[in-house]
């Protein structure tokens, strides 16, 4: 507990200091609220939670979790298939990398045209954002298996399936989790982008609405919520990782 506190207090102090400076500057220079609201204004607005804010948060959260789960699952399946069939990996890995050079922002409107404004195109956007870090991290982890352990398993007569289950997969777990953690934070971003392009609820939609009303304070509330959601997703996966990779030696 004490060591936890030791890690937490420096950034906490930094944040508080930053907010104080912000508060002081806005009142000192009489900055208009629609240009830059003071932290206290934002906090008041967040506490009021007007405009059906929580419904929007809930909608985004559902979309994020759903899309993240699908994206991660697809990423893992792709990694598994490419790992088990080296020829496929050779053929498809470059395409996988290439797919990431297509900007999501450009792809999303096309998806809306093809699939309408329902749930499907939004899930596709999040999946596209999420599967890649998972697939690449998993493939990297599966490839790096320790050669000495691998030789040992082969010498004692372990089959392909056993080598995968007892060696390659556990060995790759830390890398897989680092990929999933990245995907978890990306998934919130993916959901917001999807909602910008066509939705009737969600934080992304709420942002568009407040932007047209010059409600800068509410925009900041939305940003805050996005940050908190991303942190939540990340924290959840980090917890899962801690449980699954208990054996890992602690650094330092």
């Amino acid at each position: 507990m004490r060591s936890w506190w030791k890690n937490v207090w420096p950034p906490l102090v930094a944040v508080i200091f930053f907010l104080l400076v912000w508060q002081l500057l806005t009142s000192l220079f009489h900055i208009e609220q629609w240009i830059l609201p003071a932290p206290s204004d934002i906090a008041r607005e967040a506490a009021a939670a007007s405009g059906g804010l929580w419904e929007h948060v809930w909608a985004t959260l559902k979309l994020t979790v759903f899309g993240f789960a699908i994206g991660t699952a697809i990423g893992l399946v792709i990694a598994l298939i490419l790992h088990l069939i080296p020829f496929l990996k050779q053929a498809l890995y470059p395409l996988l990398i290439l797919s990431q050079n297509i900007p999501t922002i450009a792809l999303a409107p096309l998806l809306m045209i093809w699939f309408g404004f329902g749930l499907l195109p939004k899930l596709i956007v999040i999946t596209l954002v999420c599967f890649f870090p998972v697939a690449v991290a998993a493939l990297g982890g599966l490839k790096q298996t320790d050669p000495v352990m691998m030789n040992y398993m082969r010498m004692i007569g372990a089959g392909k399936g056993q080598i995968f289950a007892k060696l390659e997969l556990p060995y790759a777990l830390p890398s897989i989790f680092s990929g999933i953690k990245i995907a978890a934070t990306y998934s919130v971003m993916g959901a917001i982008i999807a909602e910008w392009l066509g939705a009737d609820k969600g934080i992304g939609y709420y942002m568009m609405l407040q932007k047209s009303g010059y409600r800068t304070d509410r925009m900041f509330v939305a940003i805050m919520i996005i940050v908190v959601l991303s942190l939540l997703m990340f924290g959840l996966i980090a917890l899962l990782e801690k449980w699954f990779v208990r054996w890992k030696p602690k650094q330092g």
Binding site: M149, N151, R154, M155, I156, A158, Q162, K166, P170, P249
Partner: protein
């Protein structure tokens, strides 16, 4: 064929070179050796001569360029899963507890029974790892990890044990403890063992026969039978014949070392 007289392991004229970017590195040159049923056989040879490579050939990891490996009369060249093996580096799996590591080889060959698990715990206590059953390998010292890897080989279901310098990471005292202890259990169970070591005294104490390898490419220089009766006690290390053999082996090893250094210097001058 009679099981009593068919050797547990027969290596017949095995050769192997590694090919690397147009260069070929001959490592094993026409090696033949035999491990009889229930025999304890050692290999000693200079570092880098190809001893570990020979074990990889026996275990089916590396295909020899020429020659055959037979076990109990059947050819098994290039086949995996016939030996119980302790690699030169412990290669314990970091996510497994010590107990689960020790049981790994059994697990690969079928479900692990409760008796096997209890057996493993008893053995762990015997090698001084009591209390570490549920520990993960990174919390153990190098010597403790080596003992766990040794147990993993000992508890493997395969009859023939191939041990690659099993005691190299142990201090002198623990080492001699483990030697005596290996001697005891071997004399009790009489498993067939192929044992690689750099330690001449260790080889003489434990083995029925010793093969002396040349420097790379490894060839069998000498095969000597160790005549001391069993069960052996540690006092045998003070017997005049023992010292005589030890001197002889040291002489051969030093000669090989000299040849290797000369070859290296010749190589670097080129």
């Amino acid at each position: 064929m009679n099981k009593e007289t068919t050797p547990a392991l027969e290596i017949d004229s095995v050769s192997k070179s590694f090919k690397e970017k147009r260069r070929t590195l001959p490592v094993l040159s026409d090696i033949s050796l035999t491990v009889g049923q229930g025999e304890f056989v050692s290999i000693i040879g200079p570092s880098g001569s190809g001893k570990s490579t020979l074990l990889h050939v026996i275990g089916g990891l590396t295909r020899p360029d020429a020659g055959t490996v037979r076990m109990n009369g059947a050819e098994v060249t290039g086949q995996q899963g016939h030996i119980s093996y302790m690699p030169q580096q412990p290669a314990l799996f970091p996510w497994r507890t010590i107990e689960d590591n020790v049981l790994l080889a059994q697990e690969v060959h079928g479900p692990v029974s409760r008796e096997a698990r209890e057996d493993a715990r008893r053995w762990l206590a015997k090698v001084g790892l009591a209390g570490f059953e549920k520990a993960h390998p990174h919390t153990l010292s190098g010597g403790m990890q080596q003992r766990a890897a040794f147990l993993r080989a000992l508890l493997s279901p395969q009859e023939l044990m191939c041990l690659d310098e099993p005691f190299s990471a142990l201090d002198a005292l623990t080492r001699s403890d483990m030697q005596r202890w290996l001697l005891d259990i071997w004399e009790e169970n009489r498993r067939s063992v192929l044992f690689i070591t750099h330690n001449i005294e260790e080889a003489l104490l434990l083995s029925s026969r010793i093969y002396v390898f040349s420097s790379r490419p490894a060839a069998v220089l000498h095969a000597i039978d160790v005549p001391f009766p069993r069960p052996r006690r540690e006092e045998v290390t003070e017997a005049p014949e023992f010292l005589q053999l030890k001197r002889q082996l040291s002489e051969w090893m030093r000669e090989e070392q000299r040849k290797m250094q000369a070859a290296q210097q010749g190589g670097s001058r080129l």
